[in-house]
Amino acid sequence: MTTTETQNVKAHASKPNVLDMFVAGARRGFTIGTTNMLPNVIMAFVIIKALNVTGLLKLFGVIFQPVMGLWGLPGEAVTVLVSAFLSMGGGVGAAAGLFTSGILGRSDITILMPAIYLIGSLVQYLGRCLGTAEVNTRYYVPIIVICIINALLAMWVMKVLVAFF
């Protein structure tokens, strides 16, 4: 174990009490919520609005209907997956925006939920995960492909599971 890790473990052990732990986590939640979630959600809502105003959303809906139809989803659902690829918060925001405008229903959102994360923020994580860990670059493409496979299969699994609830 490295010294930094040992220090971390010791710091955890000497954490004062449950209330302090809660407040520390809550503070982190506030920071993540305001500096990460909120800007991402606004970005996604603005993108959905722009797509709506220009009529592109309808067009996406028509073009991607055959593909997204494989999971019983409307074609517009593709915007959720594309935004998720850029950032998880964006994917969630897009899903919420499409739900608010009545394009996606509750079961559509449930089907998309794990997929949003399984391909979530890949653009960033290539650097933050694979780059940091110095993974051989020849595996980058297979890793991205597998993430997409994960997401697409998870949508089918969720489609089956939704039927039970």
Partner: protein, 223 residues
């Protein structure tokens, strides 16, 4: 290595397991619709509800209103989610502080070899990656530099991490936005993500095996 095993065992107390079980129950939503006192052990119940604004003759609604769109609607929507994110990460922090994640690590460690083909020593990095993308990746690199894992094992470990990375932190912050819309208990998509993280890592494991075999054959035929 042994020292590491010992130190992590020492810090797992009985209440660490209680904290872990509490976390699973709390976020599972199994008590969400219960009318009994034990509904206190549920995330959605404790998160509560916003008060409603009502105008005579109109439907009651929350401060977000209805019919909004674009950035302004996005802002109010995000604002309405903040309490849930704060509560969720507050509870995660308590569970972590009481050793709940260490308990999960201890339970997971013997499973790493059969499930992912990576040594049990990756347990700490795995739990770290559930909380922070950067911490998980950093630990994977460190394990490799200290010769605890091979380059191929590191690649498989990173495959496990990158799909739905920072799982707990991300799911319980941004994911909260969709919790009330989900038809399944909130733990169901979480379990599906975990299963596919393992599935994806094994796909890459097979691929690496295939690539290595092909390379060896190429070397042999070269001779």
């Amino acid at each position: 290595m042994e020292e590491k095993g010992k130190s992590s065992e020492e810090s797992v107390k009985w209440y660490s397991y209680v904290a872990l079980i509490f976390a699973i129950v709390f976020f599972s939503g199994i008590f969400a619709t219960s009318k009994e006192w034990w509904s206190v052990f549920d995330f959605t119940v404790l998160n509560g509800t916003f008060g409603t604004l009502s105008v005579v003759g109109a439907k009651a609604m929350t401060f977000r209103g209805a019919g909004g769109s674009g950035g302004r609607d996005g802002f109010l929507f995000a604002l309405s989610l903040l309490p849930a994110v704060i509560l969720a990460l507050g509870v995660v922090s308590v569970v972590e502080g009481l050793g709940g994640l260490k308990a999960a690590q201890k339970l997971m460690t013997p499973l790493l070899k059969p499930l992912l083909g990576i040594p049990g020593i990756c347990g700490l990095g795995m739990i770290a990656s559930f909380q922070s993308t950067d911490a998980g990746a950093g630990m994977a690199k460190e394990l490799y530099q200290e010769n605890m894992i091979t380059d191929d094992e590191k690649t498989v470990f990173c495959m496990f991490q990158i799909s739905a990375d920072g799982t707990i932190t991300n799911y319980f912050s941004s994911g909260v936005a969709l919790f009330s819309i989900l038809l399944t208990p909130i733990i169901v998509p979480f379990i599906v993500m975990m299963i596919f993280k393992i599935f994806g890592a094994n796909l890459l494991r097979i691929y690496i095996k295939y690539v290595n075999k092909k390379e060896q054959q190429a070397i042999k035929s070269g001779e």
